[in-house]
């Protein structure tokens, strides 16, 4: 039994070790970070003066800051001068020509996760020309959005084509000085997504990063900005359940959302970066700043995340509820296995009257992993009638993992209602035995129990994402018991 589980586990890990990455990088900046690197990045991207100034300001702020150490995670100090801050995308010749050249084990994993064929090619880094039909799909998609008046493009494109919008909104939710990693990102961000939904428009489809025409290898310092004008509506899907290859260890992304009056933004994430091996070697450091600003009255921002990857996750998608009657939501499943560490949660800042927020967090720990929920609910003095409901549950699998809960509440208005519920439970031997006695094998039993535990969050995901997320959870926890 346990030997089978180990086989499965090693197979799951293996997919990352196999190389599809050749070292024929061209046009990569030498490691190191100083002002000239920031200038060079901006120049390479042909950015207008205001962008360069913005980056430089961020860089100067960053130099004055120190790495935050309050999170419940441990890692050796990062040498920022050992990182290269720009590398041009790989040429098609250097990529696999077709799926036949891709590691079959990786394909097997895609198969398990039910990833569509054309998507597999993209994920495995197959040269674009060889990707089945993806260009025409994307083109059709873009035409449809264009008709609706929706702007959806890479951040670099937005800087070139819509500089006035970028200038107006960039850094208004997450300012450069916000925190150490946000400042670093602001100085050196490579690319990302830009979305603009004009007044009254309901975006005709879910926007997925999959359709973004973007350069590869932008994951390290990604920057996303979504603006929903009055009365508009958009649902944005980020990431992918398939294991994403990436050679960069440090990821410091920034996501900013702006919702004006009566606008709604739903932002769903599935994060599955390389978590490191069974001994805890390698793996991505995922230090992300995500914040939504409910700037207008009756606006709504909803974060849903399924976090299974990365060696270290440090991430608190937050909502600033500025507009009266605005609503913030946070639904999260965070899974840690082996030596993974996650410190994740949210901040709900209630400023407007009758603002409402809901937090549902489900943390799952297996192996020797540490999983922490950290959340802040802050009710400002002027936030009359504000309400918050927080539920945070932890599930432990095995004896060597840990779950931690750090809820902070600051209530400065007496008319506010704040509710907090928390539970910690363990997948019991009794529960497993019960399922097995009914004929269900151990792995399936774990999946059954875990999926039951996460139900409240999966319900919030767009349908196809929810199905993938379940499959992903199952793969992530393979070999966790036994």
């Amino acid at each position: 039994m346990s030997s089978t589980s180990n086989d499965v586990q090693s197979f799951v890990d293996k997919k990352y070790k196999h190389g599809f990455v050749t070292d024929i990088e061209s046009d990569t900046f030498p490691p190191g970070l100083d002002e000239s690197v920031v200038r060079a990045i901006s120049a390479r991207k042909n950015e207008p003066e205001f962008m360069l100034e913005w980056r430089l300001k961020a860089f100067r702020l960053w130099q004055e800051m120190e790495t935050p150490e309050w999170a419940h995670v441990h890692f050796p100090p990062i040498d920022y001068n050992a990182i290269s801050y720009f590398s041009a995308p790989k040429k098609d010749e250097d990529r696999p020509k077709s799926l036949d050249e891709v590691d079959p084990k990786l394909l097997e994993t895609y198969d398990k996760l039910g990833i569509p064929l054309h998507e597999r090619a993209r994920l495995a880094g197959v040269a674009v020309d060889a990707v089945f039909d993806s260009v025409s799909v994307t083109t059709t998609f873009r035409d449809k959005l264009y008709e609706a008046g929706v702007i959806f493009c890479s951040f670099s494109e937005a800087v070139q084509e819509h500089p006035e919008l970028v200038k107006k909104y960039l850094g208004t939710v997450v300012p450069q000085r916000d925190n150490y990693f946000a400042a670093l990102n602001s100085a050196v961000f490579s690319d990302g997504s830009f979305v603009f939904i004009p007044k009254g428009v309901r975006c005709p489809m879910e926007l997925s990063t999959y359709f973004r025409i973007n350069e590869m290898n932008t994951g390290q310092f990604e920057r996303t900005l979504i603006v929903a004008e009055e009365g508009s509506h958009v649902s944005y899907l980020e990431g992918c359940t398939a294991p994403m290859r990436d050679e960069n260890q440090l990821h410091a992304a920034v996501v900013e959302l702006v919702a004006l009056d009566d606008a709604e933004i739903k932002y769903s994430t599935v994060q599955n970066w390389y978590p490191g091996d069974e001994e805890g070697k390698g793996g991505i450091y995922n230090f992300v700043t995500k914040r939504g600003d409910c700037r207008g009255k009756n606006s709504k921002i909803s974060w849903t995340q399924v976090e299974t990857g990365s060696a270290i996750t440090w991430k608190y998608p937050s909502c600033v509820l500025r507009g009266d009657n605005s609503i913030g939501e946070f639904y999260s499943v965070a899974v840690t296995n082996n030596y993974q560490q996650a410190d994740t949660g949210t901040k709900m800042i209630h400023i407007g009257e009758n603002t409402k927020s809901t937090i549902v967090s489900k943390g799952i720990s297996a192996g020797k992993a540490q999983n922490a929920y950290r959340g802040l609910v802050k009710i400002m003095p002027q936030a009359k009638g504000a309400r918050n409901y927080t539920q945070c549950d932890s599930l432990l699998i095995g004896k060597e993992c840990g779950a931690h809960t750090f809820p902070y509440m600051e209530v400065k208005n007496a008319s506010a209602t704040v509710e907090h519920e928390a539970t910690t439970s363990k997948i019991g031997d009794d529960q497993l035995f019960y399922c097995r006695q009914r004929g269900i094998d151990e792995e399936d039993a774990v999946n059954l129990i875990v999926n039951g535990f996460c139900k409240d969050v999966f319900r919030e995901l767009p349908m196809e994402f929810a199905v993938e997320a379940q499959a992903l959870l199952n793969v992530s926890l393979e070999g966790a018991v036994g």
Binding site: G428, D429, Y434, C435, R438, G439, L448, F453, K455
Partner: protein, 255 residues
């Protein structure tokens, strides 16, 4: 004789932790038979039920168990279940958030797969489940609840028999199914069990009291004491135990 024996337990020894509980238990059950195991507290009744189901905390230290010609002790718990061993738990565990329907359908499909049958469709499954729920006089809303989540003691026991009715095992092991049931619930449970009696299905009922046996009349009654069967008889033995207690037998068994 041995050809048609459903389960043959020979000289079974088992420990819980380091403590020997079963000390040479021998028992044969043929298809269609209903056996009751009675005995004082700590005699090893529940241990027997759990050893047959393959629970981890129980270690078999000697003897053999052959089930339909296979070595049961070498099988994983889920393999035993798929082969047709069903344990109705004394304390069914709660699994929050996991839908009753979902668990049971997964279980049924696992069993069907082992039998070489196709997966049951959602529609057919619901039909089957509704039919069996009627038998157990259960509310249909129950299917959408979490497994045993917030169930009363009686509901949990009824749920066990309901699952048994859906999975149609060859050997039903009932571990103190009557404990904690009021008389009405006991009748419903007994009714459910009786309706499942069949030529190709056998029952091993572990019970403390004769009460259950008035409703589910056994073919054989065994008295377990000190980890061994010290007396076997028919249903009248149970009545005698009810009247006289166990002490008159225990004198014989004292080692």
């Amino acid at each position: 004789m041995s050809k048609q024996t459903l389960i043959s337990i020979k000289d079974l020894h088992a420990n819980v932790g380091d403590t020997p509980i079963l000390k040479g238990l021998t028992l044969e059950i043929n298809p269609g038979e209903v056996h009751a195991i009675m005995g004082p507290n700590g005699s090893g009744k529940s241990t027997l039920a759990n050893v047959l189901a393959g629970r981890d905390d129980y270690t078999v230290t000697g003897g053999s168990v052959e089930f339909m010609g296979e070595n049961l002790l070498e099988m994983e718990p889920e393999e035993r279940a798929r082969a047709g061993v069903f344990l109705a738990f004394q304390y069914p565990v709660e699994i929050p958030g996991v839908n009753n329907t979902y668990l049971l359908r997964a279980a049924l499909n696992a069993v069907r797969e082992a039998r070489g049958e196709e997966e049951i469709s959602a529609v057919d499954f619901m039909k089957l489940a509704r039919e069996k729920m009627k038998l157990m006089e259960m509310d249909p809303g129950f299917l959408n609840r979490g497994v045993n989540e917030g169930f009363s003691g009686g509901e949990k026991k009824r749920n066990e028999i309901f699952q048994m009715a859906v999975l149609e095992p060859a050997l039903c092991v009932l571990d103190e199914t009557d404990s904690g049931l009021d008389i009405d619930a006991l009748k419903i449970v007994a009714n459910g069990v009786n309706s499942l009696r069949a030529e190709d299905r056998s029952f091993l009922m572990v019970t403390h009291y004769q009460r259950l046996l008035s409703y589910i009349v056994p073919d054989f009654v065994h008295v377990l004491a000190g980890g061994r069967i010290i007396r076997s008889g028919d249903k009248d033995l149970a009545l005698e135990l009810e009247e006289r207690g166990y002490d008159w037998l225990l004198g014989d068994a004292a080692a």
